[in-house]
Amino acid sequence: MHLTSLSLSHFRSHKRVRLNVDPRPVAIFGANGAGKTNLIEAVSLFSPGRGLRRASAADMARRPEALGWKIAGSVQSADGAHEIAFTSEAGAARQVKIDDKAASQVALGKLCRVVWLIPAMDRLWIEGAEGRRRFLDRAVLSFFPDHAQAVLDYEKAMRERNRLLKEQVRDAHWYTALETQMARAGALIHANRVATVARLSEAQKATETRFPVASLELTQTEGAIPETEKDLREAFAESRFRDIAAGRTLVGPHRADLYGVFSAKGVPASDCSTGEQKALLISLILANARALAQDLGAPPIVLLDEVAAHLDARRRAALYDEICALGAQAWMTGTGPELFAELGDRAQRIEVCEEGLESLVVQGTNTH
């Protein structure tokens, strides 16, 4: 899928933007603080969730006005063209309209697939499990849009259970009732994640790539992962005593972690060099996009924030070749046009500059 047009109104630093784009990659350049990341953040909202900064709708409203904002775009997906619009009024959560009809986040997720890599992920392999879990779940969501509902259900039931734990409630029936629900949603979450890890591994191996293969494994801090609904129910019941002492739920898919290994070297991702860690992430994002292209008949939109800057010229050229081979509309940012030189006319260019507290978007400058 790809966008054919994008317009922003009062979204972050952008007062008014109107872009027409073709299916080629989009190279966005401009000085620090110009508004490049803001632009691709807007594109990230075309998939369900809070976008690549995980910000609230209120944070996205242009300051100082802090009124509502609007994003609209035409999307070309496997089943045809659709008009998608997002509005947020006075800080309220964004409303989605698909072809002028109010739509749910799940409906949006089925229509649009967007995957991304942002600088905040650079420390993914060395920081806490939460970031890796979130990274994995974004990939899961791109394959299984219904994953979002399972996660919501699981978290809701778990919050209820955690409250019982904190208040030291002893009513076993109550725990059982909540754990039954957690187990049902949890088993689905786990199955989706396992399937996603398998899809990513497959897709990494299936293609000749210059990026290193990351072999992935779902893990958790201690013991074997409860997999089935029954396993989970038993694990929750068994853990009650410990959980009451801790005041929270200590087992379940919310404790899962993603273990990555630089396959060719047999070195854990966390022990790899900075550049290698980044390369592993690129490899995974490309694999995600390839697998989706296979499933849906068209690649997803790919967002790469400041990825070019971290790669040497050879790696950069390899990345561009792979993106073009994939045929994805990859929105990439960088400070200068020279970072995209290797793309030649395989990409369209957009310059973003800051002019008096407002981002200005200029299209089509500097074609090579």
Partner: protein, 198 residues
């Protein structure tokens, strides 16, 4: 016009607190009532007064009526051993409007939620367990909402019912007159799982 202690303003303020009404619609309603003083406002005030004096919750099932034991609980023809458990009185009334259920009800008055501070003792769960024996219940229908809280409550109750009582829930699936194309995946898969011979 907006004097304090003005009874009209006071009425508007009260109306605006009703479910489904806001300040604008409350003003419209009050103006209408004043214009129709004899035909609507007076009778309405009297009806409200009467209800405020006579309305009460059925001591047995939680239904709202004008006597301590509601009509359904009084009606021996409805003692068929089947008990339908619902969250709210409005759910009971909705079932009654459909007019197909011939048994009795039990209104919980909400759902279990630790986060909202609603525990089993805040719902009519002990009363439900009691009724199983006194009314010789053979089947309990758990007609609770398909939300996490609704389903938690359903599991909680099911877990405590004696083995000889059959526990059922309402089927989930395609609504009457519904078109498949408009249903979400969850509904479609529920409908598929609950399919039956044609």
């Amino acid at each position: 016009m907006t004097r304090r202690n003005d009874p009209i303003e006071a009425l508007i303020a009260l109306m605006a607190r009703l479910p489904g009404l806001g300040p604008r619609s409350a003003r419209r309603v009050v103006l209408y009532l004043i214009r129709k003083r004899a035909q609507v406002l007076r009778p309405l005030a009297e009806a409200m007064m009467a209800v405020s004096e006579s309305a009460r919750e059925c001591l047995n099932c939680g239904n709202v009526g004008t006597s301590d034991i509601c009509e359904i609980c009084e009606d021996t023809r409805r003692a068929n051993g089947i008990l339908c458990v619902v969250e709210e009185v409005s759910d009971l009334w909705a079932m009654e409007r459909a007019g197909v259920f011939k048994g009795r009800y039990h209104v919980l008055g909400g759902t279990l939620s630790a986060l909202e501070g609603v525990g089993p003792e805040d719902l009519r769960i002990p009363g439900l367990i009691n009724r199983l024996e006194t009314e010789e219940i053979t089947e309990v229908i758990l007609a609770l909402n398909a939300t996490i809280d609704g389903q938690t409550t359903a599991h909680y109750i099911a877990d405590q019912l004696p083995g000889q009582v059959t526990v059922t829930t309402l089927a989930q699936g395609v609504p009457i007159g519904g078109e498949l194309d408009y249903l979400d995946d969850g509904t479609i898969s529920a409908a598929l799982n609950a399919r039956k011979t044609f």
